[in-house]
């Protein structure tokens, strides 16, 4: 089983943050799980530690529907600098949207590893481990 050292959960829903945190830790795919309500904070973090691979997450679970900065804004901004990061980060969209338009739109971002729909389940976490 692959274990990720650091996993970022980007979601404005605090309950979902707790659920994800508990499930990830219970499944043992990540030891260091950090939750962000504001996507802008994540981008600022990544930019700050872009040259420090040990500070960068291995995986980011990104919600799309968020206030102030949503998932799309995050992806657009991330696209502009992810190649400069010292480490390749696996980004998964984790959203409650089952809209096909969103799914197709995500395909446009090559660095996004997958489109996952809530709720986060053990099956999904298994998929994450596989990736």
């Amino acid at each position: 089983m692959q274990s990720h050292n650091m996993i970022f959960i980007v979601d404005d829903d605090p309950i979902h943050q707790q659920i994800a945190n508990i499930m990830i830790k219970r499944q043992g795919i990540g030891e260091n799980v950090r939750a962000f309500s504001d996507a802008q904070d994540v981008l600022d973090y990544l930019r700050q530690y872009s040259f420090e691979p040990e500070q960068l997450p291995d995986l980011i679970l990104l919600d799309l529907n968020m206030p102030v900065m949503d998932g799309w804004d995050f992806l657009n901004d991330y696209a502009s600098f992810y190649k400069d990061l010292a480490k390749q980060i696996g980004i998964f969209v984790l959203t409650s949207s089952i809209d096909d338009k969103d799914r197709k739109k995500v395909d446009n971002y090559s660095f996004v590893k997958g489109y996952l729909t809530k709720p986060l389940s053990s099956e999904i976490i298994t998929k994450l481990q596989a990736s």
């Binding site: 829903d13 309950i15 979902h16 707790q18 659920i19 499930m23 409650s96 809530k118 709720p119």
Partner: protein, 738 residues
């Protein structure tokens, strides 16, 4: 005794009558009895037997009666009377006294009487008479002759004058005349011009010639020797002038006939052409040659072909004028003319009596009416075409009229009359038929402009009094007239209107459906995003709860479940509110004063307003009231104020300014704050979304503007925002007014 003596004496001497003083015959002798054709002898007037009176035997034959004769005698004058007796003798009866009686003696004066008669005859002659010796010496002349010569030369009637030496006689040919008579001894006659004289006619003095008829004859003795030459002259000036005038008239008539503007042909009694005037010759383009056989209307094949012989005959027999129009094809004849074409002739044939031989002749007036006929045929054709055109236009289900530019109608088809509601006659004015044209209406202006224009113009107009829509097509024609087509488009207009209305309703419905569909999609989206997420949480937490064996964990999960359920409930309530608003699109509107509703909201939000210190200002002067559901307007005002308070900046005292005005039939309300502002480029499209927040404000739920937008749009309005980050936001709401 006395009577016997007298009788004897008288009987022997001279014819005599013895009369008493009363004129009664007492005795008539033989001579007197023969002249007077009365019995000879004594008469006894007292016995009243076979008495005779002077008046019976002489007076009534001479018109000289007894009293007149007695009167002359009593006056001492010569009392005599001349009488032409039965014996063809002239007798002069002389009255003389004879004692107590009167004596009437008769004398034969026949010889004296003839000489006196000759003088009188000469004096009374109505013509001049002049006697010359055989040598030409003037002998005598009567007064008339002397007057004639006096006017020319008085010397011509003086003694010793010799006519053979007179130049005038030589010039006029009178000398030759005398010489001829002298030679032949028979009479000779000549009309001569003897100078000129002035004549006044109607106040105008004219110099006119003096014509005389001169007759010369010789008087011979028993041996045949010429004893004298007699000249008889008669003034024939009047006759000559009349003759000249007649001649002139005749020549004039000839000229008139020759140059009549119409043709003239004269046929004799047998149908031969005797005269063709210049006009007719020109028309025939033909010159008659003497060598040709004369043309006869009764026998000429061409004349017979067209029945001209019968016409001639009819005029001759019936002796009446005939006028007829004939179409002749001259290409079938070469004798009449070289025209070689078909012509129409107007022929007037009339009979005349030849003034000389008294035979009936026929004159024909020929008028070439080919052009007129052709024109008439064209006009007839044109009229037929026009009638056909009119029939065609009558059959057309469209009003059609032709008119002058001043509106005077020349034709209107049946449909146009139906539209007008009455018969339309040529010459009527369109302005009388359509009273709507009589006023200064837009229709009148357009109609007049189209009439005056040079190209076709069409327009439609509504006639309120008729409840009709008419479409007009006005086309100026080349001849200066105008054709007007009128179509009743009321049905199509109504259908168009119905269609337009239906289309509008359909559009409205469609818009509403699109809107509803959009709302449904939005709602689906909202439920997808805002309900699915907590449900997913529920699902996850339930799974986690079920999987957990640790009571502590399970307790934690239950607590989270409760929190999720609360969130779901809250979201559902918000959504129910939205659904309610969208459902109530027909909410009752009422007239609301902005200032009053704002005051109410300020009272509700009193605490927040006080706490924030926000400055609220208004200008509702230009649109103080609004027809709107009160609940919604209160909610809108509350959300706008709450928004301004929630997103105020700490850098300055918050303020919010409300303003309203009318624009294009809409009421506009703006709410402009000086708060944080929004990056419209980034968040503009999500500004009024459900559960959308753009600031890290914990109180923000992202529902206020969504509700506001829903309420405004539910009542047919719209909302938009203008904002500059750091300066403030301005919301502009457009309310649809009913």
């Amino acid at each position: 005794m006395m009577n016997a003596i007298m009788g004897n004496a008288l009987t022997r001497a001279i014819p005599a009558l013895l009369l008493d003083l009363h004129g009664n015959l007492l005795y008539v002798n033989q001579g007197a009895a023969e002249w007077l054709r009365v019995p000879e002898g004594e008469f006894h007037p007292a016995e009243n037997v076979s008495s005779l009176h002077f008046n019976d035997v002489i007076g009534k034959h001479t018109n000289v009666y007894w009293p007149m004769l007695c009167h002359l005698h009593a006056m001492g004058r010569n009392a005599c009377v001349d009488m032409y007796c039965h014996t063809r003798q002239w007798v002069q009866w002389q009255l003389t006294a004879a004692g107590e009686c009167l004596l009437l003696t008769g004398t034969d004066i026949s010889s004296r009487r003839s000489l006196a008669d000759s003088d009188a005859l000469l004096r009374s002659l109505p013509c001049g008479l002049q006697q010359f010796t055989p040598e030409g010496i003037h002998h005598c002349a009567n007064e008339v002759q002397q007057e004639i010569w006096n006017a020319i030369d008085p010397a011509m009637s003086r003694p010793g004058y010799n006519l053979f030496e007179e130049p005038l006689f030589q010039e006029t040919g009178l000398c030759e005349l005398f010489e001829d008579v002298l030679y032949t001894k028979s009479s000779a006659r000549k009309e001569i011009l003897l100078g000129y004289r002035e004549r006044e006619t109607n106040g105008v003095v004219r110099i006119l010639p003096s014509y005389y008829d001169a007759t010369v004859f010789a008087v011979t003795d028993e041996q045949g020797v010429v004893t004298s030459l007699q000249l008889v002259m008669k003034d024939i000036t009047e006759k000559q002038l009349s003759f000249r005038r007649l001649e002139k008239s005749s020549r004039l008539l000839d000229l008139i006939i020759e140059h009549l503007p119409i043709g003239y042909i004269q046929f004799d009694h047998f149908g031969f052409i005797r005269r063709i005037n210049h006009t007719q010759r020109e028309f025939f383009q033909y010159e008659y040659e003497e060598t040709e056989a004369p043309f006869n209307v009764m026998s000429d094949p061409f004349a017979r072909l067209y029945g001209l012989d019968k016409l001639f005959k009819e005029v001759m027999v019936a002796n009446k004028v005939i006028r007829v129009e004939k179409q002749l094809d001259f290409s079938k004849d070469s004798r009449w003319t070289t025209q070689s074409r078909e012509v129409w002739l107007d022929l007037t044939l009339f009979p005349l009596k030849d003034p000389v031989d008294k035979q009936q002749i026929v004159a024909v007036l020929v008028n070439d009416i080919t052009d007129r006929k052709m024109e008439q045929q064209m006009r007839n054709q044109l009229q037929r075409n026009t009638e056909q055109l009119h029939l065609f236009f009558d059959a057309v289900d469209m009003g059609y009229t032709t008119m002058e530019k001043d509106g005077t109608l020349s034709f209107a088809n049946r449909k146009a009359e139906e539209m007008a509601g009455r018969r339309i006659f040529a010459g009527e004015s369109i302005y009388e038929i359509l009273p709507e044209l009589g006023y200064a209406t837009p229709f009148r202006a357009r109609f007049s402009a189209a009439l005056a224009g040079t190209s076709s113009a069409s327009f439609s107009s509504y006639f309120p009094r008729r409840y009709k829509w008419y479409e007009f097509l006005i086309t100026p024609m080349r001849d200066g007239t105008v054709s007007v087509f009128i179509r009743d488009i009321t049905d199509s207009r109504n259908m168009q209107k119905d269609l337009f209305r239906a289309n509008k309703q359909l559009n409205k419905l469609n818009k509403s459906l699109v809107n509803q569909n959009q709302q449904l999609e939005d709602f689906a989206h909202i439920t997808s995003h805002n309900l699915r997420a907590p449900i997913a949480n529920l699902k996850a937490l339930m799974q986690m709860h079920n999987d957990s064996r640790l009571p502590q964990e399970r307790e934690q999960y239950l607590s989270l479940l409760q929190e999720v359920i609360f969130k779901i409930d809250e979201t559902l309530n918000d959504l129910v509110d939205v659904v309610q608003i969208r459902k109530n699109v027909d909410m009752d509107r009422e007239e609301l004063a902005f200032s009053q509703r704002l005051q109410y909201v300020k009272d509700v939000l009193f605490a927040d307003i006080e706490k924030s210190g926000i400055l609220l200002t208004t200008n509702f002067e230009h649109a103080p009231v609004l027809q709107f559901p009160r609940l919604y307007l209160d909610s809108i005002l509350q959300n706008l104020i709450t928004n301004a308070i929630r997103y105020r900046t700490q850098e300055r005292r918050p303020s919010l300014h409300f303003m309203s005005w009318q624009e294009n039939g809409y009421t506009i309300l703006t709410a402009e704050d000086n708060g944080l502002g929004i990056d419209m480029e980034r968040f503009g499209h999500k500004l009024f979304g459900f559960r959308k927040t753009f600031h890290k404000n914990k109180d923000a739920k992202g529902i206020g503007l969504f509700i506001t937008k829903t309420q405004v749009e539910a009542m047919g309005g719209s909302i938009r925002a203008e904002s500059t980050p750091g300066q403030g936001t301005k919301f502009i709401i457009t309310f649809k007014t009913e």
